[in-house]
Amino acid sequence: MTRKTVEYQISRTPELGLDFRPTQGLMAPADLPVADFESENMLINIGPQHPATHGVLRLVLELDGETVVSCVPHIGYLHSSFEKLGEYRDWNQVVPLTDRMDYLAPLIYNCAYVMAVEKMMGVEVTERCKVVRVICMELDRIFSHLLWLGTWAIDVGAFTPFLYAFQEREKVYKLHESFTGARITTSATRVGGMMSDIPEGWEHGVRDFADGVMKTLDEIEYLLHTNGIHLGRTQGVGVISAEEAINCGLSGPNLRASGVPYDVRKDRPYYDYETYDFEVPIGEHGDCFDRYLVRFEEMRQSVRILHQAVDRLPDGPINVDDPRVALPSKTDTMNDMAAMIHHFKLVMEGVKAPVGESYFPVEGSKGELGMYVVSDGGSKPVRWRIRPPSFVNLSAIPQLVTGGLLADVIMVNASLDIVLGEIDR
């Protein structure tokens, strides 16, 4: 065995500060045997059953010491073949499949799907419906970000924000329940409108929630923003530049954290988003901490939109008056033969869409959520495709974690805000 002189360095952290500069030369140089082993990388497997992968994600990591040399993600454990199932259902029956993909923001998926179908059919929904859908989408953006915030805090080692965030989420669950009857699988939209009008006083509940969540966000900010452990574990971790982020197809908060001001609500506005007064937060460094800041600020901007939307909520019908998609009233159905036949055909055969296709992107909670629907003139889709934001965001994870430490993989994964139901579909 060869021998080699090694000079030790001992790092010491001053008790209270967070100064990680090592103090040197505490031990004399030692004469130690050097093992002439062949260096060998270690493989470790995280998941698919692991709490920090936020679902059934499996990561195979090759490690050199603690440094990640390569990372291979494996997905598909939750594959439910939603796109294939959709081809066997009529246009309205697809709606329940959409909220089962991203169960953290079900209403955004409900809305995005019917918006694509309506665009393809040339159906213009009513003003009230537009505002209700904006409220639904912004509510669920906060809903989804709150879950991300809670689990993010747990990953960083802080438990309290999780409880605070879930207390607020419970209020959104209650709002979901009073509107749709379900807490998670809302299925609230129909082609041409919503399943029903919002219940009496629901908008006041939304406003109460919006007020309450601002206070909670302030409390969580007080706990996390200047927390030394939080800063140390997230700043400068998982950095991606603006060009790389665009090239990797990142979207939503992950892209904006790298400094690219691309927000579908601003760049390709739908439902009069250009008339709402809100800002798009932009990060600077493209690291985990910036992704955290961007999402945090987005919740406050969504609260602003919620207040404006509740203020402008117009009266009037929620469903469009278009015989192609709207059921005739119950009175007409029972008294008029033509209306009864129409009702029967709409229920039994489903809405018929003309030949055509449409790709409709909305700003989902995870990024650009695109719904691509293709019709051949029948009552079932030829193709229903979801552009899954989490799927594309997750595909950048090998690039983000390679060269970093094993412990940082957990933070990078948490900062991407993935939901496996939508990745595997």
Binding site: E40, N41, L43, N45, V60, E62, S70, V72, I75, G76, H79, S81, E83, K84, L85, Y88, K119, M120, M121, G122, E244, I246, N247, C248, G249, S251, V260, Y262, D267, R268, P269, E274, P354, V355, G356, E357, S358, Y359, F360, P361, E368, G370, Y372, V374, D376, V382, R383, R385, R387, F391, V392, L394, S395, A396, Q399, D424, R425
Partner: protein
């Protein structure tokens, strides 16, 4: 055609003003609509032989059909030319209309600086399901193309990692989103269960999947630790792509 859209332009909705009398739902559109989207006449001029046709769907969405063997070249030009600069690849997917008709390979492009979207399609005959991979242009295409291969069976030339992504690696029933694929799969329920149970779990922890030329280290550990040597996989079709019992 060369008019530059500024950053504070009205966005996609305002840019493409269709004439009122036009039936927006009809997919066939006369060439006069070219002016509504600056990239369409530019493509027609630049690639006269590869430009097949132009459609407008959904009111304001422009679709350009191109020759399947020229997609890479056209996408590269669309990405790199300063007047077009489609730097964001939203989506890569495919559409199967069934009945032996060609598969459509669909690229959803978006230009963040110009705020402009374009859909590019290539029709691939069923006998020749191959296209050039665009991973050299956009890293985002990596998993999206793997999904198209997995679900539709379209091969991508020069793809860095051409494995299945959502279905298991040993899946032998074909490509699920094709119209000739039955909803519950090609094999019987009993056969599907038998195959699932006969797979050795440790197979999935063999890290040869980390890339070509890598040492399968976990297998060596098994040998060192005295564990029984991994035997050949029982009853698993080594060529998962050939559709099984079609």
């Amino acid at each position: 055609m060369t008019e530059e859209k500024t950053e504070d332009g009205p966005g996609l909705k305002g840019e493409i003003a269709l004439p009122e009398e036009e039936d927006v739902l009809a997919p066939v559109v006369p060439g006069g609509l070219d002016q509504a989207h600056p990239s369409v006449p530019a493509l027609r001029e630049r690639f006269p032989d590869a430009f097949l046709r132009h459609e407008v769907t959904g009111g304001d969405e422009h679709v350009v059909f191109v020759a399947p063997d020229r997609t890479f070249e056209i996408l590269q030009w669309l990405k790199e030319d300063a007047d077009h600069f489609y730097n964001f690849l939203s989506d890569v997917t495919a559409v199967d209309y069934g009945g032996g008709r060609p598969l459509q390979l669909v690229y959803q492009l978006y230009s963040i600086p110009h705020r402009r979207a374009l859909r590019l399609k290539a029709e691939l005959p069923l006998s020749e399901l191959e296209a050039d991979s665009v991973v050299p242009l956009w890293q985002a295409a990596n998993w999206l193309e793997r999904e198209v291969w997995d679900m539709f069976g379209i091969r991508f030339r020069n793809h860095p990692d051409p494995r299945r992504i959502l279905m298991p690696e040993h899946y032998a029933e074909g490509h699920p989103l094709r119209k000739d694929f039955p909803l519950r799969g090609r094999f019987s329920r009993a056969e599907q269960t038998r195959r699932a149970l006969s797979q050795e779990v440790e197979d999935y922890y063999v890290p040869s999947e980390l890339g070509p030329g890598r040492e399968p280290q976990l297998v060596r550990w098994r040998e060192l630790s005295g564990a029984p040597k991994a035997t050949a996989k029982p009853d698993v079709d080594p060529t998962p792509e050939d559709g099984g019992g079609s």
